[in-house]
Amino acid sequence: MALLDRADWYDIARDTNWTPKYVTEDALFPEEQSGTLGLPLEVWESYDEPYKVTYREYVRTQREKDAGVYSVKAALQRANFLDQAEPGWVSILKLHYGAFATLEAMASSAESRMARFGKAGGLRNMATFGSLDENRHGQIQLYFPHEHVHRSRQFDWATKSMHTNEWAVVAARHLFDDIMAGRDAVGVALMLTFAFETGFSNLQFLGLAADAAQAGDISFSNLASSIQTDEARHAQIGGPAVKILIANGKKAEAQRLVDIAIWRAWTLFATVTGPSMDYYTPLDRREKSFKEFMQEWVFGQFERTLLDIGLERPWYWDTMLADLDTRHHGMHAGIWTFHKSVWWDVPPGISRAERAWLEEKYPGWEETWGAHFWDPIIARFLKDGPVDTVLPSMVQLCNMAQVPITGTPGWTPGKTGRPLQDFPLEHEGRLYHFGSEVDRWIFQQDPDRYKDHLSVADRMVAGMIQPPTLEGLLDYFSLQEGEWGEDALGHSWLEEYRQEQVQAA
């Protein structure tokens, strides 16, 4: 064989640390960008990434991947799948692209922070590929929805969303700026790649890919699973960094960063992915419930990964486990109620058959969410006719997650779920509100990082949203008729209940 094996030269390509002479190490790796907690260059030289790839292999593999994904798209484009797709699935696509495309492009900057300010050569090389990967994910997730812009103005939000102050966008930006765009290199390694990408992104990409395949959206299924193959590689950047921190007496710091990121990721996924899986995906196409995906991937696989690497379960693990039965049902209820505040049409997902499925997956759903949230709305709509979204008496937003503070309606002790509860905190004379003790704990870890931010609710109170009406708020969200969300079924779902009423009479 006239070509060398990768193993013959790989180590040389990542042996690139040197001792700076003309500038100091601290100037070259300033703490606000590097975040190495004072650990010097030589400590990081033991960094060993588990997934090894060379430049040559990368450009070949990625060319092949793109050839596959783009050619399937081209072949299926004329089939106009979306014109026949069920409304719930179309909503998922609008939500997905609007929530993730621009953020993925932004993630390339965060990967580049590791590639510049990481103190290990192997980490810098892997992050070079990570930066390219995220460049891909931004581009491909703009190329795909662009073919749909003529179908609905809501698809425009794939590029528009992150430039607005729409509430879900504010929540997503607050999270990703915290774990990615506004974090130092070590923080990005631990919070974005290790916690978020290892723990959660397969929920969005593999879970949705499975649902997409079931729904017949081969193009999207292919896209999502191809993206996940990149994520699976660059997600491994964080693990060896965790090991180095642990080996050098920084376990508590590593644990803290990972704990913050996991909870923050959970609150986002409960807002975006939970409703998609349990309410939007057509019933007969659901691979698993959101809870089952969470149990398998986060409470199963990721928990093992955490323990194997030498970290502990986050202290709030049981709280999060219990939250599986509540949070995303509340998010869905809130989003449907105020569907004008989002850029996708919101399916209620509560036909009798869907409710039976929810009760099966979430025992107790009927006597809480069913009886105390949805039934009163149905009764009111049947009596007075459906009404459009109204401005909710401004719900309290969590000053960490930036989403409504929720509880289980009709909850009593002993039932599944939890009561509606604010976890307040007064800090430097300002009263903050949190949706859980974990959100409050995160704030307390670094108050200076979070204290200046105003939630959308705070902005309303502060008079920053004018006029303080539904119209003023939608204007602040940059949502106009044609792009704001409607009931995805045009309230046709009420007919089933009307029939029941007739029969009962």
Partner: protein, 330 residues
């Protein structure tokens, strides 16, 4: 109020591109208007204006003297997208792989002269450190530049630098197999840190790496330091190599030089774009004059060490000057 106006109708492209007369290219569809944090000068991130990185970005991005343009309007003349980049570079790497394969088959390295074999671990293989600094500095641009269209160019440039690092690492290992006691794979760090030939580039790049203002970082790296390095480490080393009977080195460098030309194409476009505001040209010229002496010293120190190449330093310096003159910057 927005609610009183007509419902928004679907468009044929993104709303931010819809006002233009022509259909957008794939490049524009996937590359433009993506950098949300560049819009808010007071608080780049959703966390508030006072976190450490907000201060950093306010100072080094929004506070840059290179300013006054809507940077999202910048376009890469090559309209390079991710998938096109991989097609391009997979082709280039297939070519390089062919070179490696054929030359190894022919036992090429065994035919190098002893004097040249002694030169390579001093002047060639340590260049992986030099190109790694370009990789790092390009990644700084990725995060600090003010638009997604500039960010893309820097992303591919960073990857190109890793390509150069990889070629040198590969050749290091290959040469070590034939010449295990010549310092291949062992002498490079010492050479980079101590050899007089490298101290100019090392000083230059360490200082470029801490030039944190986005505009200065771009000028110092893309207009001065990287051109100096490319002319000395690719062009002049390759010319010397050919005279010493090492044609492979030049063939690899020629392929790498294609990436250099792509970098200069977008760098030229960015200077012209920035220069539509005349004050920016004054700022850029100031930085060029500030950084050029260091780069010239680096070229000189390196090229003086090249055997039998008395004109190398002059030729390399003239090439850098020529590039700057083409931009009316020198």
């Amino acid at each position: 109020m927005s609610t009183e106006s007509e419902p928004l109708k679907p468009l044929r492209t993104w709303s931010h591109l819809a006002g233009r007369r022509r259909r957008p290219s794939e490049y524009e569809i996937v590359s433009t208007n993506l950098m949300y944090d560049a819009k808010n000068a007071e608080s780049p991130f959703e966390l508030g204006p006072n976190i450490p990185l907000s201060k950093w970005f306010k100072k080094y991005r929004h506070g840059s003297p290179l300013s006054g343009r809507d940077w999202e309007e910048f376009r890469d003349p090559d309209e390079l997208t991710y998938r096109a980049y991989n097609i391009l570079q997979d082709g280039q790497e297939t070519y390089i792989e062919g070179l490696f394969d054929q030359h190894n088959e022919l036992q090429y390295d065994a035919g190098l002269t002893a004097a040249w074999v002694a030169t390579l671990p001093r002047l060639y293989t340590p260049a992986r450190y030099a190109y790694h600094t370009v990789q790092m500095a390009s990644h700084y641009l990725v995060q600090i530049v003010p638009s997604s269209t500039i960010r893309n160019c820097a992303t591919y440039q960073a990857a190109d630098a890793l390509r150069c690092v990889s070629h040198r690492a590969y050749r290091t290992a290959e040469l070590k197999q034939i010449y295990p006691d010549s310092g291949f794979g062992t002498a490079e760090r010492t050479a980079w840190e101590n050899d007089t030939a490298w101290q100019g580039f090392r000083e230059l790049m360490e200082k470029v790496l801490v030039a944190y203002d986005w505009g200065e970082s771009f000028v110092a790296l893309n207009l001065v330091a990287k051109p100096a390095m490319d002319e000395a480490l690719l062009r002049q080393l390759a010319a010397t190599g050919r005279r010493q009977g090492d044609s492979l080195l030049g063939l690899i460098a020629d392929s790498e030089y294609r990436d250099v030309q792509r970098s200069r194409t977008w760098s030229t476009a960015l200077v012209r774009f920035a220069g539509e505001r005349p004050e920016n040209l004054v700022v850029i010229r100031g930085w060029v004059e500030q950084w050029l002496p260091l780069a010239e010293r680096a070229i000189d120190a390196y090229c003086r060490a090249l055997p039998d190449s008395p004109q190398a330093a002059t030729t390399a310096t003239q090439a850098v000057h020529g590039f700057l003159q083409s931009l009316d910057l020198h």
